[in-house]
């Protein structure tokens, strides 16, 4: 079973995917693109990590999927954030913020 790349904390990828989808439905390729844009080209999610994560999230009911057509006329599977998903996103963002704050405090203390 592949895991998110080492520089992404376990669970972080899930939150990022949810965040990307909170701005509107996307297909898998689109999620990678959007994360790259949003991170100013800093974050490059690998396909091999993305899809297992997307399937897992879908199973938990946080996103739903539907086949559709891209603006270039290509058939692709689009993922949409569900209600449970946006709740989950809020929760994860809060806990991330807490963690980030905690880490920042610890670092400053040294």
């Amino acid at each position: 079973m592949t895991r998110p790349k080492a520089d992404l904390l376990q669970g972080t990828l899930d939150m990022l995917i949810l965040k990307a989808l909170s701005l509107g439905p996307l297909h898998g390729y689109g999620i990678i693109q959007r994360l790259r844009q949003l991170s100013d080209e800093l974050l490059e999610v690998e396909q091999g990590s993305l899809y297992p994560a997307v399937y897992r999230i879908e199973q938990r009911g946080w996103i739903s999927s539907k086949w559709g057509v891209t603006e270039t006329g290509r058939r692709a599977k689009f993922y949409t954030l569900t209600k449970a998903g946006s709740k989950q996103l809020t929760a994860e963002e809060e806990s991330w913020d807490r963690l980030a704050l905690a880490i920042a405090k610890v670092r400053k203390a040294v």
Partner: protein, 891 residues
């Protein structure tokens, strides 16, 4: 909603694996194409653009599988995979699979069969609404609260009048009655019962046609009305919808049909289902407070507890004892819930049988566990490889258990088939005491129903079985890691496994010995029982019941004064008939009646301590016909007629008890008390004791009266014939028709059959126990020889070396035998210990055999030792056929 999504996705994945895979593949392909396009835009050449897009994915196919694992690879998919794999393994090894399934089917089948008997008899609901409020009301004694005496009508009347705990009370004739239906259609004898008017209200049943009895129809003169059962209405009257109001002939008299009961109404109490219901029509005899002939049923008022009812009825009983000291002194009232009544002994018998069936199943489990151990050893390479590829221990246990459960379910299904078959077989040999548990009749045409309760039981047993026999092997074989396998694999045996296998032999032998001992005790009991001298000669005697309605059964005189004479004249003259007579209660199977009496010249004992004895009415030549030895005096003769002096004959037991040091001949007794206005009866004969109540009962004091002086409403003809009695049935019936045209003969049996049927209640459990012990013995033999064969095959090299070094065949056989027989003997000791503890549960079924009878125990141990020896010896001998060279080259 999470589980909901997951379940749906997994089910979809399970059943539409292809479509899920396609879906993922398409999605990933779209992704690659989009990435390729992007790369092209960035100026890469087409080949490089595609290669770069693919690079991020690694292996596309593997990713698809991975995606499937996540989207669909949950427990359900694993289960499916294990089931497919498991069934492939089972099919690959048909010999093993077949033996295992047959073994399990025998064990599970035995349990299902017994449970379906329990289900049909004890768990069958009583067919009346709110049966938990129904109670039986008995007369009882203050100084013996366990005493249950059937009620007299006057006492019932008082109970009914004074109580405030019952919604309604009713009585019915305890003996039931046979009725002869004549007139239109053939002469037919049906079982019926006299009931009081409230009978139907107590039971809570309404007729499907017409009405039930009115209070005034309880009185003689207005009682010529009948209610039919649904069965009788269908069979004899073709479901005639206009039957109500029709006149039919019952016992030669006209009766009006006033109602028909619904099909679910089945009334049965220690006998056949009653087809014809008639009003109680109290006879003069019935109106005597000391004449007990009725069973009393009552329905508790809503909210009244059993204890409240007991207290109230007890008080009524005590006040009646004060009011009517002659009949009721020392008496009280006893209540039984009908749900619990009459099932105690049967429950014990059936639960004992279920326990023994459980033992057989345990032996089957041990056998299959053994088979799995042997097979597990052969599969150790496969299991090691699985472990090396990353299968966790839990995962391996799960897979092995899935296989076990698969086996168990195949065994369970076959077991149900066995149960359906053996159940219908059992039903035919079901003894009377099980067939007629009060209020719960069993219809032999229905068969034993395999209903949801039976299926649930079997399902539970099957799951348990699969886990019991599968767990130990699964735990042992999942523990082995790759290193262990590589180190030991070449020798292919584990010491832990070998120890466990020896342990299983011990367990198997112990269980088999317990079952065998149980069967041995039952056989011994039966042999003792059948060797009991019944006190009469049962060969070449045929018996028939005939009902001769009688107004006054207490003192006579007969309603058919010429009956005895006609019997001699018409039946006695049939060529080949040696002798003919009739009796009110046939020995062994014919029930009984008793009477209180006083003895002339002895002090008045008072009504409380009045002596009593068994009471029989017989025709002339009874002792001669039955082959009962006359010790002194004479038989009754035709001259002992209604107007002649009253005479009786007594049995030895009565002579010994009441005239211990004198000759009873010529002494006189009187029925009732000294003050009774009944005639004095002179003892004219003393006959040998007969096992009246059954071969296992002691004879009790009994006296006999001639039919011409004291008639009885149902007589049993006994006819001794010169040759096999079967051929005489029709001539006897024809002869009867000449002088009693309205009376049908029923219950035709030879005396040998009566004897045979009488031991049915013991023969039934004995037959089952013998069958179980045969199964247990076979399974044990197969199991032991399997273990020995396996250990021989594992030790081929060792044996080969021994032989190469010059060991003789005898030596090799001893080598193999010693170890296996040691295990068997340990099992024997454990089994003996267990038998000591367990056989006492059989005590109630045994006759003149102690639960720890040393002969039976020794014999069982001997048989088992012999079987174990053969089971060990055969594979041991095979070991000597090993060619040392081949054995050494084997690895």
């Amino acid at each position: 909603m999470e589980w909901h999504n997951i379940l749906r996705a997994r089910l979809r994945a399970l059943f539409r694996r292809e479509s899920v895979l396609q879906d993922i593949e398409e999605e990933l392909r779209a992704h690659v194409e989009m990435a390729t396009e992007e790369n092209l835009k960035c100026g890469l050449p087409p080949d490089a653009a595609r290669a770069a897009a693919l690079k991020g994915f690694g292996n596309l196919g593997r990713n698809t599988e991975l995606g499937y694992d996540i989207r669909g690879g949950g427990w359900l998919e694993t289960l499916w995979q294990d089931l497919r794999y498991g069934s492939r393994m089972l099919f690959k090894n048909p010999g093993f699979t077949l033996v295992a399934i047959i073994t399990l089917a025998l064990g599970i089948g035995a349990n299902t069969t017994i449970f379906s008997v329990i289900n049909s008899l004890l768990l069958k609901p009583i067919p009346f609404p709110e049966a938990d409020r129904l109670v039986l009301v008995w007369e009882s004694r203050v100084n013996n609260p366990e005493d249950r005496t059937i009620a007299s009508a006057p006492n019932y009347w008082d109970w009914r009048r004074h109580n405030d705990v019952f919604e309604e009370m009713a009585i019915f004739d305890s003996a039931g009655k046979g009725y002869d239906l004549s007139g239109e259609g053939e002469l037919e004898r049906v079982s019926g019962v006299r009931v009081s008017a409230g009978f139907f209200d107590v039971l809570g049943v309404k007729p499907r046609l017409g009405r039930t009895f009115l209070l005034e129809e309880e009185q003689p003169g207005k009682h010529q009305v009948v209610v039919l059962s649904d069965g009788l209405w269908r069979s004899r009257y073709n479901s005639d919808p206009a039957i109500v109001g029709r006149t039919i002939k019952v016992d030669g008299e006209n009766h009006t049909v006033i109602g028909v009961m619904p099909p679910e109404f089945e009334f049965q109490f220690f006998g056949p289902i009653r087809q014809l219901l008639t009003p109680v029509a109290y006879t003069k005899n019935d109106q005597d407070r000391s004449s007990h002939s009725f069973l009393c049923l009552a329905r508790l008022k809503q909210g009244v507890t059993m204890d409240q009812a007991r207290a109230r009825m007890n008080a009524i009983g005590l006040s009646l004892a004060q009011q009517y000291p002659d009949a009721n002194i020392g008496k009280t009232v006893k209540l039984d819930s009908i749900i619990e009544f009459g099932v105690e002994d049967q429950r014990m018998t059936l639960l004992t049988l279920l326990a023994v069936a459980g033992f057989v199943l345990l032996i089957a489990c041990v056998n299959v566990a053994n088979l799995l151990m042997a097979r597990g050893a052969m599969r150790s390479r496969e299991l090691a490889i699985r472990a090396a590829l990353g299968a966790s221990r839990a995962r391996t246990i799960r897979q092995l258990l899935t296989e076990s459960l698969l086996l168990a379910f195949a065994g369970g299904l076959s077991g149900i088939l066995i149960a359906i078959w053996s159940g219908s077989l059992l039903l035919k040999v079901l003894p009377g005491n099980l067939r007629a548990i009060p209020f719960r009749s069993i219809n032999s045409t229905d068969g034993l129903a395999v209903d949801y309760k039976v299926l649930a039981f079997t399902w539970g047993v099957t799951c348990l079985t699969g886990i019991i026999f599968g767990l130990a092997p699964a735990l042992i074989f999942s523990k082995r890691n790759v290193n262990e396998f590589l180190q030991e694999g070449s020798r292919g045996t584990t010491s832990g496994g070998a120890r466990l296998r020896q342990g299983l032999v011990v367990l198997e032998v112990a269980l088999a010995l317990v079952v065998l001992t149980g069967a041995g005790l039952m056989i011994q009991s039966m042999a003792r029982l059948l060797s009991v001298a019944p006190g009469f000669d049962p060969h070449n005697v045929i018996t028939l019941n005939i009902s001769l309605p009688q107004e006054n059964t207490y003192v006579g005189p007969p309603g058919h004064p010429q009956f005895a004479h006609n019997l001699q004249e018409h039946v006695g003259s049939i060529p080949g008939v040696v002798s003919v007579s009739a009796v009110s209660h046939l020995p062994i199977g014919g029930g009984g009646a008793g009477r209180g009496f006083v003895i002339e010249g002895k002090p008045d004992p008072g009504s409380e301590n009045q002596p009593g004895a068994g009471y029989r009415v017989i025709c002339p030549n009874y002792f001669r016909t039955m082959g009962i030895r006359l010790i002194s005096g004479r038989e009754f003769v035709e001259q002992d007629s209604q107007n002649a002096p009253g005479v009786i004959a007594i049995n030895e037991a009565m002579a010994k008890q009441f005239w211990p040091n004198e000759d009873p001949l010529g002494k006189r007794i009187k029925l009732g008390l000294f003050s009774s206005d009944t005639p004095w009866l002179t003892i004219v004969g003393i006959a040998q004791d007969v096992k009246q109540g059954g071969l296992d009962r002691r004879p009790f004091p009994t006296f006999f009266r001639p039919y011409s002086q004291a008639a009885w409403p149902t007589m049993t003809l006994v006819v001794r014939t010169a040759s096999s009695p079967g051929a005489f049935i029709n001539p006897i019936k024809q002869a009867l028709a000449r002088f009693e045209p309205d009376r049908a003969a029923s219950g035709i049996r030879t005396m040998d059959e009566v004897l045979y049927d009488s031991v049915g209640s013991r023969r039934f459990p004995m037959t089952l126990l013998v069958a179980f012990s045969l199964v247990a013995l076979t399974l044990a033999a197969v199991g032991i020889s399997g273990v020995v064969s396996f250990s021989v095959s594992q030790r081929t090299r060792e044996i080969g070396i021994c032989m190469a070094l010059g060991a003789s065949k005898g030596h090799v056989i001893r080598l193999v035998l010693n170890r296996s027989m040691a295990a068997a003997l340990i099992g024997m000791v454990a089994g003996l210990a267990a038998s000591f503890g367990l056989t006492r549960f059989l005590t109630g079924l045994l006759f003149e055999v102690k639960p720890m009878d040393p002969v039976v125990l020794g014999f069982a141990a001997l048989i088992l030792t012999g079987v174990a020896f053969i089971a060990c010896y055969l594979p041991a001998r095979r070991a000597t056929k090993v060619d040392p060279m081949v054995a050494l080259r084997l690895e």
